[in-house]
């Protein structure tokens, strides 16, 4: 197929439709409105379901209902809207039905702003809603990657009866890039043995997240955990750049990882042996691979558009074995490649310690940056 110029949000919506999306329910919020708008035009013309809900609460619960029928269903939102969806997401996780969530992050907390941010990593990767559960979270760094991840997101959600979130930020949602979209797949509702679709010729089915008997709830929790362990074993995805001989490794996901790649290339041009590790699944986080890299590299630089949320996962994997530096921009500020390049250059000269607190050190340097 040919490459065409697409806006991120619209390409993501179209990719979902071509992956066999049957129903979309959403509510306007910047910077993801084009997903809702694209769906409102395309789904009715294809005879599929679209509802602009009264709020994110309504939207996620419409998704919940649709997911219970076994239909391929998704919603999308941005940070404050995702917070509102947390109740429904917890119920969906507890009921063990599949859905896809596109989360186009913006600056926060509170109303924040509409600029690109990665400050909701913890919120979505660590569950978000109440109870013990783990969504699968995919973090693309380009529109093409986002488009390619959409069919996978549905497949993973259905395979593991879980929420699969495609986590990006406003810049990927809003930018335009040449992309190749997949062919249109026909809608094929699977005959799931749990789907609620009328008790005709079979015993009735009940889908619920209530288990009043604690031992039964414990069994459910263990079932979710077992499935999550399988996800951790089989579904970890990442991308590596210039890793083979890298003395220093930069780690960043999504847009931060993409900006870091420019910095890494510039550093390589200067003869610095630096590579980039970019997790695609931020949940499950590639702990094992990061631990392996820590055996080869002399130091890591973690860069994020938040105050070090993924940094905690990196620290868990590294377990104090090598120094970790951190560079973050907050509140909707996107770092320039030059800023990360300076950090790489600084690392090559500075005396680094594995005992140092990367966030404290970064905050001291931030006093200069954010003045």
């Amino acid at each position: 197929m040919t490459r065409e110029l697409w806006k991120g949000n619209e390409a993501i919506a179209e990719a979902a439709i071509r992956a066999g999306l049957e129903a979309y329910f959403g509510y306007p919020i910047t910077p993801q409105n084009e997903i809702l708008e694209w769906m409102s035009k395309r789904l009715p013309e294809l005879g599929r379901a679209f509802v602009q809900a009264e709020a994110e609460l309504g939207a996620i619960n419409m998704v919940y209902g649709a997911a219970c029928t076994g239909a391929r269903v998704m919603t999308s939102s941005s940070s404050p809207g995702i917070s509102l969806m947390m109740e429904g997401l917890s119920y969906i996780a507890g009921t063990e039905v599949p859905m896809v969530l596109v989360n186009v992050m913006r600056g926060g907390p509170g109303l924040g702003n509409i600029a690109p941010s990665q400050a909701d990593y913890n919120q979505i990767c660590k569950g978000g809603g109440h109870g013990d559960y783990h969504p699968i979270v995919l973090a693309p760094a380009s529109i093409q990657e986002a488009v390619d991840l959409m069919p996978l997101a549905f497949d993973l959600a259905e395979k593991y009866l879980n929420i699969c979130c495609v986590l990006l930020d406003g810049s990927i949602g809003q930018m335009m890039e040449p992309v190749e979209l997949p062919e249109m797949r026909p809608v094929q509702r699977k005959d799931f043995p749990w789907a609620v679709n009328g008790a005709k010729g079979r015993p009735r089915r009940i889908l619920t997240s209530i288990y009043l008997d604690p031992p039964e709830e414990e069994k459910t929790n263990l079932r979710l955990l077992k499935r999550w362990q399988e996800v951790q074993e089989k579904e970890v995805r990442y991308k590596e750049y210039f890793i083979d001989d890298a003395e220093f490794v930069v780690i960043g996901f999504g847009t931060a990882g993409r900006v870091a790649l420019s910095a890494v290339r510039a550093a390589r041009a200067q003869g610095i042996k630096v590579g980039l590790f970019r997790p695609i699944t931020v949940a499950p986080f590639p702990y094992k691979r990061v631990a392996e890299l820590a055996k080869k590299a002399s130091a890591f630089l973690v860069t994020e558009m938040n105050s070090g949320q993924m940094l905690e996962d990196v620290r868990l994997a590294v377990n104090g074995s090598i120094p970790i530096e951190f560079y973050g921009r907050l509140g909707g500020v996107v770092p320039f490649p030059d800023e990360i390049l300076s950090e790489i250059q600084r690392m090559t000269k500075a005396k680094l310690s594995a005992e140092a607190d990367p966030v404290l050190n970064w905050m001291k340097r931030m006093e200069m940056v954010a003045r």
Partner: protein, 259 residues
């Protein structure tokens, strides 16, 4: 030893769309009556295999145990949204929610108003017993002025605790509503009328004539601190004057269908 019932003596039996599950509701509560009416209508209309129920949070959280149909359990107040998602994916199925007054008229007010406004082709059975039964009888949006509850111990003071909401009247103002009525479960004559309304509501959905809701005035003897019989009398004397029975919306298309 129990006497064995021979078939010839059978004058009253469980509808086939009802499961053989002992009730968890309090003695004298009218939830059981409402459940039975729905089950009878589903069976009479031959909808059991095509119906999908949406249970609320509240006393009826386990409503799904009693119906021999597919069922889902919604988050508090969100049943109309969940029903919307199901109905949009299965437009030829019959989707109904069963909700109490706290669930529907307080935490779920946004969902119910917009489901009605969209003309969502679902049926809502709304139980109004003027309090939060499940959590121990707190004040609900339907609690009468001056009525004592566990969170209005001196009686509902409308100056500080607001006024009750008349749901049927309010939803009837929306263009998407096809059929909105209020009935009561306090005596056999009214129970028969309630059943007729439930039947009409499901017929409205079957004929794709829009949103249908039947509000049922119900008793809560446990939290009202009355006997079952006193509760029925209290409903008749106090609730009906405030929540008049009647047809609040019968859309022209519904009237023309002569259900």
């Amino acid at each position: 030893m129990a006497t064995l019932m021979v078939p010839e003596n059978l004058v009253y039996e469980r509808p086939k769309s009802f499961t053989d599950t002992p009730t968890h509701y309090c003695p004298g509560c009218t939830h059981g009556v409402a459940h039975r009416l729905i089950a009878e209508v589903l069976e009479e209309m031959n909808l059991t295999e095509r119906a999908i129920g949406v249970a609320p949070v509240g006393c009826a959280v386990f409503a799904y145990n009693y119906f021999d149909t597919d069922f889902v359990e919604a988050a508090h107040g969100r049943a109309p949204a969940m029903a919307t998602g199901i109905k949009r994916c299965l437009p030829d199925h019959i989707v109904f929610t069963y909700q109490g007054d706290g669930d529907l008229a307080s935490i779920g007010m946004g969902e119910i108003v917009h489901a009605a406004a969209r003309g969502e082709n679902i049926t809502v059975i709304f139980i109004n017993n003027a309090n939060y039964g499940m959590t121990g009888g707190q004040m609900a949006p339907t609690t009468l002025p001056g009525m004592k509850t566990t969170s209005s111990p001196n009686g509902r003071d409308v100056e500080t605790q607001g006024h009750p909401i008349r749901v049927a009247e309010m939803l009837a103002t929306l263009d998407g509503a096809g059929y909105v009525v209020r009935r009561s479960l306090h005596d056999p004559a009214n129970i028969r009328k309630a059943k007729k309304a439930i039947r009409t509501a499901f017929e409205v959905q079957e004929r794709k004539l829009g949103f249908s809701l039947v509000e049922l005035l119900s008793t809560c003897p446990s939290n009202w601190n009355l006997t079952p019989v006193e509760s029925l009398k209290w409903l008749e004397e106090h609730m009906i004057p405030f929540f008049p029975l009647g047809d609040y919306k019968v859309a022209p298309a519904v009237a023309a269908a002569k259900i």
